[in-house]
């Protein structure tokens, strides 16, 4: 118990430090002014969400291969945590876009593809609610998760090739783009803090799923008896 509290406190301190760095250490953007600072939350959440979905994909593969329930637990936990971070991306995006672009939402490639990504994992969770038997649920959702993750680059590619309004990638983008070095450092620190938060959430959610599964087994045995 105390270990959990300690870990949570550490993550809280990290997040606080990241927030402080985003507001007071990173210099103000020459063109956008203050509002750009939401980037540290927005982009860091996007990367963290993708990391979570990648973990989900690996867990899905391992489940299909090994058939141990723990990979199923990890898969569903990672999908849920990834959805939460992606939801942050989808909310902070419009908050930034409204003052800068003058509109809340536009069907630009990255918005749209992030939204499709979010929907794919919502469907993954919906699918899980519609299959009763635990082993079957684990296998079917793992397979769908694999297909969904394979689809992600295709979704991003297709939408990005054919229309664009989102700011061009500033990190790993074309030459001439890029952030101030201090901004970079703050961004990577924010990402690190977010990853710590993700790990914490993932751990707790995994434990919950393990307990839920145990309870389910006990209930089934009771019903059978």
């Amino acid at each position: 118990m105390s270990k959990n509290v300690l870990a949570a406190a550490a993550v809280f301190v990290l997040l606080g430090a990241a927030a402080y760095a985003s507001f007071f250490i990173a210099p103000t953007d020459a063109k956008q002014g203050l509002i750009y600072r939401i980037l540290f939350l927005h982009v860091a959440s996007a990367w963290t969400g993708l990391t979570a979905f990648f973990i989900c994909f690996i867990a899905n593969l391992l489940y299909v291969w090994r058939r141990q329930p723990r990979w199923d637990w990890l898969g569903v936990s990672a999908a849920e945590v990834g959805l939460a971070f992606t939801a942050v991306v989808l909310v902070t995006g419009p908050i930034w876009a409204h003052p800068v672009w003058g509109i809340w939402w536009t069907w630009s490639p990255r918005l749209t593809s992030t939204f499709v990504l979010w929907l794919l994992y919502v469907v993954y969770l919906v699918l899980r609610t519609l299959v009763e038997e635990p082993d079957r649920r684990a296998l079917l959702s793992a397979l769908f998760g694999i297909f969904a993750f394979i689809d992600v680059p295709l979704v991003f590619g297709s939408i990005r090739w054919w229309r664009d309004q989102h700011p061009q990638p500033v990190v790993m983008g074309e030459s001439g783009s890029g952030l101030d070095p201090i901004m970079y450092r703050v961004l990577f620190f924010s990402w690190f803090a977010m990853l710590a938060l993700m790990t914490l959430l993932l751990r707790q959610r995994y434990k919950l799923e393990a307990m839920r599964s145990e309870l389910d087994t006990v209930q089934r045995e009771l019903e059978a008896a």
Partner: protein, 224 residues
């Protein structure tokens, strides 16, 4: 070699089942016709407007129709209790998928080609001079829809609320097909038509990626 002969035999079975009743084809054709007519109420289909919107509408209609058409693909086997027999009859379960997805591609393609003249007349679009390119796009997109759709219908057939679940699984996953085929079709309906090789290549890549995924993971979809 057994994969080819097994697939051939199963494909024959799929085609016989369908052409005996033609249920799937007639319902899908009527469904798409209804959608095409209903769409015309939501905007004014003048020639210029049509060039901009029609390709998107066409592909949306095809995609929705496909999500209904692929429904019975595995459901029929399950309801008739023939899935185990099917699995026992082939050495490689990939043959089952290969036969089903070939049949589905064929059904989709037939429906699309049958409806193309209606679409061309109602939305005032010249299709004759770009017909061969349209057939290529229809083929690649239908193949992609069938590959992913056949795999997903094997998933949805094993769940509750399957009729609602399949479109849910299929539509977001097929976004790339919708985007690419709409863009290619749009450039074919342009005042000075041109072929978007980028889009055609993209569709081919999509088909290849999902065919590989199905080949790798297909057998797990049919586990008892």
């Amino acid at each position: 070699m057994s994969l080819v002969s097994n697939t051939g035999a199963l494909l024959g079975k799929e085609l016989r089942t369908e052409f005996r009743s033609r249920e799937l084809l007639t319902t899908t054709v009527v469904f798409i016709l209804i959608v095409i007519v209903l769409f015309s109420f939501t905007f004014d289909p003048t020639s210029d407007e049509s060039r901009r919107f029609a390709p998107g509408l066409l592909w949306l209609a095809f995609l929705f129709a496909a999500s209904l058409m692929l429904q019975p693909c595995f459901l029929r086997e399950q309801q008739n209790d023939t899935l185990s027999a099917l699995r026992l009859s082939v050495r490689d379960p990939f043959a089952i998928f290969l036969a089903k997805l070939t049949a589905n591609t064929l059904f989709l393609l037939l429906t699309e080609l049958f409806l193309l003249p209606f679409f061309s007349i109602m939305y005032n679009l010249p299709v004759v001079r770009v017909l061969h390119w349209l057939v290529l796009v229809f083929f690649l997109a239908s193949l992609g829809i069938s590959i992913a759709g056949t795999a997903l219908s094997a998933i949805s057939a094993q769940a509750r609320m399957r009729e609602l679940l399949l479109p849910l699984l299929m539509l977001p996953l097929l976004t790339p097909i919708l985007v690419a085929s709409t863009e290619v079709t749009k450039s074919l309906f342009d005042r000075s038509p041109y072929v978007q090789w980028k889009g055609i290549g993209f569709l081919a890549v999509f088909d290849l990626v999902f065919l590989t995924a199905l080949w790798l993971f297909g057998e797990y979809l049919l586990e008892e």
